[in-house]
């Protein structure tokens, strides 16, 4: 039933994507390293407060990394190459997912390898989509890095031969529930990266720029202001959370059809619920005046921790009705 040749081509596409992403990552890193002034570091650093202060009105849409009073904006050749490579890698991942799906005559959402593949694909697609509207070249390294890591795990640890599905997974809800879940996780992943960057930037902004080491100066210069990072992270979470709510509801509808009850306290259901509750707490904390954005952001990080547990621990080690890891 399964077309193993096509599945081999899909794997080949994944390997190619990983190579392309490695190069993209290097290019992004080179670009970030160039964020700091090259010639006379000392004079440039003094201008830093002005840059930070100037942009607190914080429209991330128009945030230009090097658009300060240094004169002409630096040409960011490396970032341009990196973005091109990212798009190429994204196209390769789309091809890989499509071929994997064609090889088994179903959506490629049936086991750990396929979740990782499609999840990575969504992360890259979302990143590229955002990059069409805003300048997010500063984020590239922190999006492509996790993607590369996930793909590496997928092809080595989580790899599962292309094969048909268990009967309980043969349902239209597989497409609805798992696609949205994977997409939501992709958004949460990008939001997680931005949240971490926000915490780093907040920490850097509290320091005296004159006393900063060179590496901190680079990071500080390369990142948008903390306020803007915070707003981006919140926006991503605000989109991902309703999608996760939908995942929960669609999963319950499917569970009702496949297992007879919409809620069975299966480990996977428990963790999906835990993730939902933690992110709900995050949104509530954001809406409460007594909480600083930083404290709320720790909740968001906890939520992402729960996502990682849900995917990497629950799928593999916990016994339940979602035991489909295929390993």
């Amino acid at each position: 039933m399964t077309n193993q040749t096509l599945a081999q081509y899909a794997n080949l596409a994944v390997y190619s994507a990983m190579m392309v992403f490695t190069m993209a990552m290097i290019a992004f890193a080179i670009d970030l390293a160039g964020a700091a002034p090259k010639a006379s570091a000392a004079t440039e650093i003094r201008k830093e407060p002005a840059l930070v202060g100037a942009d607190t009105s914080g429209d991330p849409q128009s945030y230009p990394v090097a658009d300060d009073d240094r004169g002409p904006a630096r040409t960011r050749k490396a970032a341009g190459i990196a973005m091109m490579l990212t798009r190429l890698g994204g196209a390769l991942l789309i091809a890989a997912a499509a071929m994997r799906g064609l090889s088994v005559h179903r959506p490629p959402l049936g086991n750990m390898f396929e979740f990782a593949l499609v999840g990575s694909m969504f992360v890259v697609v979302v990143f590229v989509a955002i990059s069409l509207r805003r300048d997010v070249r500063w984020l590239g390294l922190f999006v492509i890095g996790p993607v590369l890591l996930t793909l590496g795990m997928a092809i080595t640890v989580w790899y599962t031969d292309a094969s048909e599905l268990l009967p309980s997974l043969k349902s239209v809800w597989l497409v609805i529930h798992v696609t949205v879940a994977t997409f939501a996780v992709a958004l949460f992943t990008i939001a997680f990266s931005v949240t971490i960057l926000h915490l780093i930037k907040t920490w850097l902004e509290a320091q005296d720029p004159k006393q900063m080491s060179r590496i901190r100066t680079i990071v500080n210069t390369a990142l948008p202001p903390a306020r803007s990072l915070d707003r981006t992270a919140y926006g991503l979470h605000a989109v991902a959370f309703p999608l996760w709510t939908f995942t929960l509801i669609a999963g319950a509808i499917w569970a009702e059809q496949a297992w007879g009850h919409y809620w069975n306290w299966d480990p996977k259901e428990v963790w999906t619920f835990v993730i939902w509750v933690v992110y709900a707490a995050y949104l509530h904390a954001r809406a409460t005046t007594g909480w600083s954005p930083r404290a709320a952001n720790y909740l968001a990080l906890a939520g992402y921790g729960a996502i990682l547990v849900n995917y990497m621990v629950v799928n593999v080690y916990f016994v339940g009705q979602h035991s489909y890891s295929g390993m």
């Binding site: 039933m1 399964t2 914080g58 429209d59 599962t160 031969d161 094969s163 048909e164 599905l165 268990l166 009967p167 309980s168 043969k170 349902s171 809800w173 707003r231 605000a238 959370f241 309703p242 709510t245 939908f246 929960l248 509801i249 319950a252 509808i253 499917w254 009702e256 059809q257 496949a258 297992w259 007879g260 009850h261 919409y262 809620w263 069975n264 306290w265 299966d266 480990p267 428990v270 963790w271 619920f273 835990v274 509750v277 933690v278 709900a280 707490a281 949104l283 509530h284 904390a285 809406a287 409460t288 005046t289 007594g290 909740l299 729960a306 629950v314 916990f318 016994v319 339940g320 295929g326």
Partner: protein
């Protein structure tokens, strides 16, 4: 500062509570419980409290694994049991968390709804004197009289385009805003739907919780292992296990019946490695009647396709083998002829079961052992199965004689209670083991008769569920999602416009104030100014009052 749930709630606690009497204490406790800080704390507690249920086995899911755990952890097991770690979701402490959260939810929704109701009917506030001091502000000078410009501003605020367009697109661009007009000043407030969505979300969660409770109280679950060729009807006595909610009327079950004629099962044969033998398809061919007098209908029951009778659904949740076994006495009389379901123990359907021959005399006979769909002899594990489908079916049984039902106690049909039975031995004094292939007959030693393995049939594990709350839960969940999206995407804004004459021209000043962060507000004000500038230029003066 007290952390109340909304910024608009009147802060009256300090005024009405000079001393804390009993009522004051209650009020204080209520305030604490319904405060956002407590709600957040309870939410996190709920998340943490749910986790143990995924780590430790749960009785309501797999009682067998709980028993195993208790045996292998004699010191910690009983303590975990006492703390409810094996019944997390019905434990007192978990109930305490979600009930407090429920109360907190009600305590949040009710006063907020009142305030929102009033806010929706109230006029927007008066414009502040200095619009330029608001967080977002813009000012331009345009042609025309102040009254006309103000009118244009009003239309622009409402998204009304004075230029053409079909009614549908005009409707789309129309903004819902409440406007207050005083002299040459406008106050507009929009985004009430944000709070409405928020309230719908929280109210819907209450609905979902009520629906879950209703399902728990009035719902029931019945399980039945049904060998192909047999039928069962929806009465308690026909179920192997029946688990009703506390308020279920067990007399009033809907009188449908289901017969399973055939069960088709497919396993992965082509793949090698871990996927080999994985189930691929289960299809049960059934005949059903919704009541004893109703016509018979042929229906297909699949794993993701339950049968439904009103609000009761029949699910196909398991399958296995039921070898047909005939036991005769020495005279050749049939003592028993039955398809006996065996329970699968592993992925290759090595199944255990017991055959109980109570008609045997002088002593009753019992057979206990394995059914193996694809039999081979494993060096360590003994008779085993290498594939879940019927490639080399065999029965491996031990034989016991004695009393099958000591003191008439109830016992599992899948195991033999051997306390009052002795195992038969072969000539060398070893326990007698029978290995039967389909069609084979083996004579039992000592003139005890014979056992025949006639054929193999399959059984379908049917689970019947009735949950009157599930539709309400679904409606509640969908409403919650809608409310959530509205509350996250809609912005609550106040926009103030003031115009005043400057010679022949008019100055327009617009200030904006948002609740929470609203990065789009500045752009919105710039858009408004641009629209006003454009329209006043094209219109000229004196066209409208």
């Amino acid at each position: 500062m007290t952390q109340s749930r909304m910024d608009t709630r009147p802060d009256e606690s300090e005024v009405t509570q000079p001393t804390l009497g009993p009522v004051g204490m209650l009020r204080w406790a209520w305030r604490q419980l319904t405060s956002m800080r407590t709600a957040l704390f309870l939410l996190l507690l709920l998340a943490i409290g749910a986790v143990p249920g995924s780590i430790w086995p749960q009785r309501n899911i797999d009682a067998g694994r709980v028993a195993d755990y208790l045996v292998s952890h004699p010191s910690t097991g009983p303590w975990l049991d006492r703390l409810g770690f094996f019944d997390v979701y019905s434990s007192a402490w978990f109930a305490a968390i979600y009930l407090l959260l429920f109360v907190s939810l009600v305590g949040c929704v009710v006063p907020r709804s009142k305030i929102h109701w009033r806010a929706m009917r109230a006029q927007p506030p008066r414009a502040p004197r200095h619009l330029e001091r608001l967080p977002d502000h813009g000012q331009i000078e345009v042609d025309g009289a102040p009254e006309d410009v103000l009118h244009i501003a009003r239309d622009a605020l409402l998204g009304r385009s004075s230029v053409g367009g079909n009614p549908f697109t005009r409707r789309l661009t129309r903004r819902r805003a409440r406007i207050r007009c005083e002299g040459l000043t406008l106050s507009a407030e929009s985004g009430y739907l944000r709070e409405s969505g928020n309230l719908v979300f929280h109210t819907s969660l209450i609905v979902v919780i009520v629906a879950v409770a209703a399902g728990h109280l009035f719902g029931w679950r019945g399980d039945r292992i049904l060998v192909t060729g047999n039928s069962f009807s929806n009465t308690i006595s026909d179920y192997d296990t029946f688990d009703p909610g506390p308020w279920v009327n067990t007399e009033g079950l809907s009188p449908f019946s289901v017969a399973v004629d055939k069960l088709d099962v497919t396993f992965e044969e082509h793949s090698i490695g871990a996927q080999r033998g994985a189930p691929r398809d289960f299809t049960a061919y059934t005949r059903t009647r919704s009541s004893p007098d109703a016509p018979q209908i042929h229906q297909i029951l699949k794993v993701n396709g339950p049968l439904t009778f009103g609000t009761t659904s029949v699910f196909l949740l398991g399958n296995g083998y039921a070898p047909v076994i005939t036991v005769r006495n020495a005279a050749g009389q049939v003592l028993m002829n039955e398809a006996t379901p065996f329970l699968p123990q592993d992925a290759n359907y090595k199944s255990v079961g017991a055959v109980k021959v109570s008609a045997a005399s002088p002593k009753q006979l019992g057979f206990f052992g394995f059914f193996l769909p694809s039999e081979y002899l494993d060096k360590d594990a003994g008779p085993s199965s290498f594939f879940p489908d019927l490639k080399n079916p065999a029965l491996a049984l031990g034989v016991y004689e004695g009393e099958l039902y000591p003191q008439g106690r109830p016992q599992s049909v899948y195991t033999l209670s051997t306390e009052r039975m002795t195992q038969l031995k072969n000539a060398r004094g070893e326990p007698l083991r029978l290995l039967l292939k389909p069609g084979q007959t083996i004579q039992l030693p000592g003139g005890r008769g014979s056992i025949t393995f006639d054929a193999v049939r399959r059984w379908a594990g049917l689970s019947v569920r009735y949950d009157p709350g599930k539709l309400l839960a679904l409606i509640g969940a969908i409403a919650a999602l809608g409310g959530l999206i509205a509350s996250l995407m809609i912005r609550r804004r106040r926009v103030f416009v003031r115009v005043w004459p400057a010679g022949q021209r008019t100055v327009v000043s617009i200030g904006g104030l948002a609740k929470g962060e609203d990065p789009g507000l500045a752009a919105h004000i710039q858009d408004l100014l641009a629209v006003i500038a454009q329209r006043s230029a094209t219109k000229g003066s004196g066209t409208r009052i």
